[in-house]
């Protein structure tokens, strides 16, 4: 869905409900009481069966715009999704802010905790006290995944440029400078390519396989999609719809949507927390994600072309099987062949084919009903007659 934020109030309300609370020690004194209340309630939150309604009632609901950090909006917002309790928040903030200070770029950090707290949360609290107005920790009520962290963080981020980074320092912070230069010279998103890698062979192998599969299926020429240290214009994160594990494919999806994505080779410092083999479940989920992304990027506007082709193959095979077994069965010496399962298999294939084509028809209807909102192109620039060019619309659906 490429609807802009303004056009989906429900979405925003849901988002608000998910963004449980925002820690704001530097805010108005009236709010400090609430912060204490939250601190008191913390053990209760960890209880296995928490009454959702009560949590929502106590949680301070603040409008996204109002709850951002005070002061002038900085140029760069760094969004740090924290997914485990041992995320090295302090390390990341210290390293990146030192480099951004050196480059003379104003910046802020939005640290989004994905339903976890622990030592990392304490660190983030301390950081926001040490660097007033520069660090904003916020927590989602449950684990919603990194994609949701990024969208939640984006709501509070004010910078023109958004940097996303993993919860530990993986890339030499010095690489930020060249990546920002690439943005300044016209790129919409800069994707890193860790080369040479410093992780164990197994990690490198599976990463290479993942990238190879992505290259086959999306025709996306990226060497390294697994590294989430990315620099992008704000519009990219705003207009590219991501959910679930799709943050991984952000450069590929953004490129398909028409954003200018460049890849830069960066220095890989160290791997952290990598276990090597992640378990079958992780690989299974990732494979399904790839399938979903490929399907959506190729067939969103023409579902029948996908379902129709697949269904026609089944239908054809089923019809051929049914016919041949029937013909054989009618032969004087071929009697028993009909009792074999081949005929039944043909029947099943036939029904399956009809079903799959039927899915495609329903898909077409769904897409047709939404066609006014789904625009499939992104305008770079409009050159009006005689006037100065104006920028493209960033793919928003408003004009249609």
């Amino acid at each position: 869905m490429t609807l802009p934020q303004e056009e989906r109030p429900n979405e925003e309300a849901r988002e608000l409900a998910k963004v449980g609370e925002t820690f704001r020690p530097e805010a108005l004194p009236a709010l400090e009481g609430e912060a204490e209340m939250l601190a008191l309630r913390q053990p209760k939150r960890r209880a296995p069966k928490k009454p959702q309604a009560e949590v929502l009632a106590i949680t301070p609901h603040v409008a996204p715009a109002a709850s951002a950090l005070p002061g002038e909006p900085p140029e760069i917002s760094v969004i740090v999704p924290v997914t485990t309790v041992d995320g090295r928040v302090r390390e990341v903030v210290t390293a990146l802010s030192a480099e951004l200070d050196r480059l003379g770029r104003s910046h802020e950090f939005v640290i989004v905790f994905d339903g976890v707290r622990g030592a990392a949360w304490a660190d983030a609290e301390a950081l926001s006290r040490e660097r007033p107005g520069r660090v904003l920790p916020m927590a989602l009520q449950q684990a919603f995944g990194e994609s949701m962290c990024l969208s939640a963080g984006l709501q509070r981020a004010r910078g023109r440029i958004v940097v996303t980074t993993p919860q530990y320092v993986q890339i030499d912070p010095f690489e930020l400078g060249p990546m920002l230069v690439a943005i300044d010279s016209g790129a919409d998103l800069v994707s890193p390519w860790r080369h040479p890698r410093v992780d164990p062979v197994l990690n490198r192998l599976q990463s290479a396989m993942f990238n190879q599969v992505m290259r086959w299926m999306l025709h996306a020429q990226f060497h390294d999609l697994n590294c989430t240290f990315r620099v992008m214009r704000r519009e990219v994160l705003r207009d590219v719809p991501i959910h679930g594990d799709m943050y991984r494919f952000l450069p590929a999806i953004a490129a398909r949507q028409g954003f200018k994505v460049v890849e830069r080779r960066v220095r890989h410092l160290k791997e952290w927390g990598g276990k090597g083999f992640f378990g079958l479940g992780v690989y299974g989920r990732r494979a399904l994600d790839v399938l979903g992304v490929v399907f959506l990027s190729k067939f969103t506007h023409k579902p029948l072309r996908f379902f129709g082709t697949v269904g026609a193959v089944f239908l054809f095979l089923g019809a051929v099987l049914c016919l041949t077994t029937t013909v054989q069965g009618l032969m004087p010496d071929g009697g028993p062949i009909l009792t074999r399962s081949l005929f039944q298999f043909g029947v099943l294939l036939f029904v399956l084919g009809v079903q799959v084509i039927g899915f495609g028809l329903v898909g077409e209807i769904i897409i047709y009903t939404q066609a006014q909102n789904l625009r499939e192109y992104r305008v770079e620039k409009v050159w009006e007659a005689g006037d100065e060019p104006r920028d493209g619309d960033g793919g928003s659906a408003r004009e249609r």
Binding site: A255, G258, F259, K260, H301, K302, L304, R305, G308, T309, T326, G329, G335, P336, L338, T339, F343, Q344, V347, F350, V351, V354, Q355, G358, F359, G360, L361, V362, E364, I365, I366, I367, Y368, T369, Q370, A371, Q372, L374, R375, E376, Y377, R378, V379, E380, K381, V382, W383, E384, A385, G386, G392, E399, R400
Partner: protein
């Protein structure tokens, strides 16, 4: 509705650097002869050659030129949709940039439109393309489209078409369905006409089409047929689809009833009859259920009822 512009020409451009200058000259000649305010909207569909540079030069020379630049190649349909979105004239004329369409036909198309039609499609009666690869598939496709949609247009693939602005404003165009625009507009009440237009052999560049479109056109046709006539009552469409299967299931049931004493389940023939009956029955039940699902989808989108058809109300042209 007094719009300052009366004619917008929409030209999707993809790698056509040599053709653009002569094209612009011909368009200008054709439209100046009408003596009405006009514009050309070139949609640069992510060209990799110098097309955009040429367009920018043309824009500097001619104040009628507007350019919409895509950030990558999205295909001809998207380019047309963008052109429709940005066009400001009362009449929108679409045209290929390859010079095979003759811009000199535009005044005739516009005149035909003003005679009381909403869509006028060009008909390349004498085509200058290869027969086996281009004309034969096109002939078959056009016959099929005409018989399925009930809108008898000889040449749906011709890009040279003229539309009243309200028509294209109201039609969602997506996928590669620009060739179905006349049929889709006819389904929402537009009066469609056609006119023989000139067709010239290609001078520069090369064709961007291949024969691979055939299966896609077939599948698109299926969806267009459904959407143009059943988009707000999908249950009826799926109901129609079940009819042949229901008839077969009924026939088998009757057969079983009459032969009840001779059919035995341990007999191969009896088993085959039973399985075939099951097949038809399952397909029926399944399609009916899908019909309900489709009704739900339409209901959820709010397209049911009066808003379902964005009817085109005809009003006299200026």
């Amino acid at each position: 509705m007094a719009s300052p512009l009366s004619i917008s020409v929409v030209v999707p451009v993809y790698d056509e650097e040599e053709n653009l200058r002569p094209l612009q000259a011909e368009i200008a000649r054709a439209l100046e002869s009408l003596g009405e305010p006009w514009e050309v909207v070139y949609v640069d569909d992510g060209s990799r050659d110098r097309s955009l540079a040429v367009l920018l030069e043309l824009r500097a020379q001619d104040r009628h030129v507007r350019i919409v630049q895509f950030s990558r190649n999205y295909g001809q349909t998207a380019a047309m949709a963008a052109g429709f979105d940005h066009a400001r004239g009362d009449v929108v004329v679409t045209l290929d940039a390859d010079l095979q369409n003759d811009p000199a036909d535009i005044p005739a198309l516009v005149a035909e439109l003003r005679r009381g039609h909403d869509v006028v499609a060009g008909w390349r009666k004498e085509r200058h393309d290869g027969f086996v690869l281009r004309r034969l598939p096109s002939l078959v496709a056009n016959r099929l489209i005409a018989s399925v949609t009930g809108v008898a247009i000889h040449d749906t693939g011709c890009t040279l078409k003229a539309f009243r602005r309200e028509v294209v404003r109201n039609l969602p165009i997506y996928a590669e369905q620009h060739r179905f625009l006349p049929a889709m507009s006819a389904a929402s009440g537009a009066r469609v006409s056609e006119l023989v237009v000139n067709h010239r052999p290609r001078r520069f560049g090369h064709s961007k089409y291949g024969i691979g479109r055939a299966t896609r056109v077939l599948l698109d046709l299926l969806s267009i047929q459904m959407i143009s006539s059943f988009s707000h009552r999908p249950m009826q469409y799926f109901g129609l689809l079940t009819l042949p299967f229901a008839a077969m299931a009924g026939a088998f049931l009757v057969y079983c009833a009459f032969q009840a004493d001779t059919i035995q389940l341990d007999n191969t023939w009896g088993r085959a009859v039973l399985i075939t009956f099951m097949l038809f029955f399952m397909v029926c039940a399944y399609l009916l259920m899908l019909g309900f699902l489709a009704e739900l989808a339409v209901k959820a989108s709010g397209l049911h009822g009066s808003r379902g058809r964005r009817l085109i109300v005809s009003e006299p042209m200026r």
